[in-house]
């Protein structure tokens, strides 16, 4: 019984969203606003049960570890952003988050995005694929070097880099199209199979 009601609700909401293909209308707006509200509620509950409960409330109130008062106070200070007169207090926890994030990712990005990518590119050029990789990375980087005008030989190398970038964008585009078509097939299958039982 519950499943049948659920399928009907899901089907009607699906049709509400698809109605946008005709034009913007109240059914679409209803589904859109419901989506925002339900999503916000879902993630708020998810973070409460999976982050705040096990990492803050259990250690602080059940295990009696007073050190966890610090993140609790920082969290409450963060919420003071909603009170205009003392909203400046929320800068402290914000600075804590931004500083921690910046320090953490300074090393992480240096390792993964810079050093490891360069190491993986600088290999003996013994196969056609390794030549393509090396040429693609270097010409791509030349294109992203904007401190020198893209003219002459430098401009030619940069142009070659653009070609590699275009192939990558084309590949990403093709991938995105396939992913969206898969989702569309999934919704159509749901409507025709689970809801209307037209197909088996």
């Amino acid at each position: 019984m519950f499943e049948t009601i659920g399928i009907w609700i899901a089907a009607l909401l699906t049709l509400c969203i698809f109605s946008f293909l005709y034009k913007d209308n109240p059914f679409y707006k209803f589904a859109e606003h419901l989506f925002i509200g339900v999503s916000a509620g879902y993630w708020a509950c998810y973070y409460y049960h999976n982050v705040l409960q096990p990492n803050l409330f259990v250690p602080l109130f059940q295990e009696g570890r007073p050190i966890f008062i610090i993140p609790l106070v920082l969290g409450i200070m963060m919420l003071l952003h909603l009170v205009p007169k003392i909203s400046w207090i929320s800068r402290w926890p914000l600075a804590f988050i931004v500083g921690t994030y910046a320090g953490y990712y300074l090393i992480t990005y240096l390792q993964t995005n810079a050093l490891e990518q360069v190491t993986a590119t600088l290999v003996p050029l013994v196969t056609f694929s390794s030549v393509v990789l090396f040429v693609g990375v270097t010409t791509g980087l030349v294109y992203f070097f904007f401190s020198k005008e893209h003219k002459g030989t430098f401009g030619g190398i940069a142009k070659f880099g653009i070609w590699f970038l275009m192939i990558a964008f084309g590949a990403s585009f093709g991938y995105t199209v396939m992913a969206r078509i898969s989702l569309l097939i999934g919704r159509m299958t749901f409507l025709l199979k689970d809801w209307l039982h037209i197909i088996q």
Binding site: G41, L79, F144, F164, V177, M178
Partner: protein, 207 residues
């Protein structure tokens, strides 16, 4: 106090996170774990702040009877209902909370993204007009990739899936690697500017 202290906190936390990486000691590792736990907790509060701001914005629309205020009732209603259900029943598998997620959230999200399949067709028409070398390369890469991912591509020419795979793992990878290196260097310089207090837009304007 209002501007200097946040900058000092940011500097101390940033430098501490960098320094601890180079000290493989038990105390340093404990510090790292504790700070990351706190980071997660404070970040979770920032999501609560986001939810509060959402309610504030929509409440203002309702009280001012702004255009489309009726829809704001739907948003706040959905949010409050989901919160109430989540706190009363919990979020385990089989609860009402997860049923709502399954029958409301998932279909809405999937349908919203599947709508793009229609609009991407018109975007493809504009992007794929092979007027230049660049547009032609984009067109060829996209078409080969799409054909290579479906059985029809194999029936057209059995080598298409292999070519698609080669494009993905070589020229595509080369360009992505260039982008990733660029993004990495950009992130490193931005992180340094934040830690040193040169980039301070996160603390906003005012006193």
């Amino acid at each position: 106090m209002r501007r200097q202290l946040p900058l000092a906190i940011c500097f101390v936390m940033g430098v501490s996170m960098v320094v601890q990486f180079f000290i493989p000691h038990r105390v340093s590792q404990e510090f790292y774990r504790t700070i990351l736990d706190w980071y997660r907790i404070v970040f979770a509060f920032s999501l609560v702040l986001g939810t509060g701001t959402l309610i504030k914005v929509h409440w203002a629309k309702i009280s001012k009877k702004s255009k489309g205020w009726q829809y704001s009732i739907i948003t706040i209603g959905g949010l409050v209902f989901m919160l109430a259900v989540g706190f009363i029943t919990g979020i385990q598998e089989g609860t009402l909370f997860m049923k709502i997620f399954e029958y409301v959230e998932v279909p809405l999200e999937a349908t919203m993204f599947s709508l793009l399949a229609f609009y991407i067709a018109s975007a493809a028409y504009r992007a794929f007009r092979a007027r230049t070398v660049e547009a032609t390369l984009l067109l060829i890469a996209a078409v080969v990739l799409m054909l290579g991912r479906i059985p029809f591509g194999y029936y057209l020419w059995h080598k298409i899936p292999g070519i698609a795979e080669w494009i993905l793992t070589n020229p595509n990878m080369a360009a992505k690697r260039g982008i990733v290196i660029g993004v990495g260097l950009g992130m490193i310089s931005t992180a340094l500017k934040i830690i040193l207090g040169i980039e301070r837009s996160y603390i906003g304007g005012g006193k």
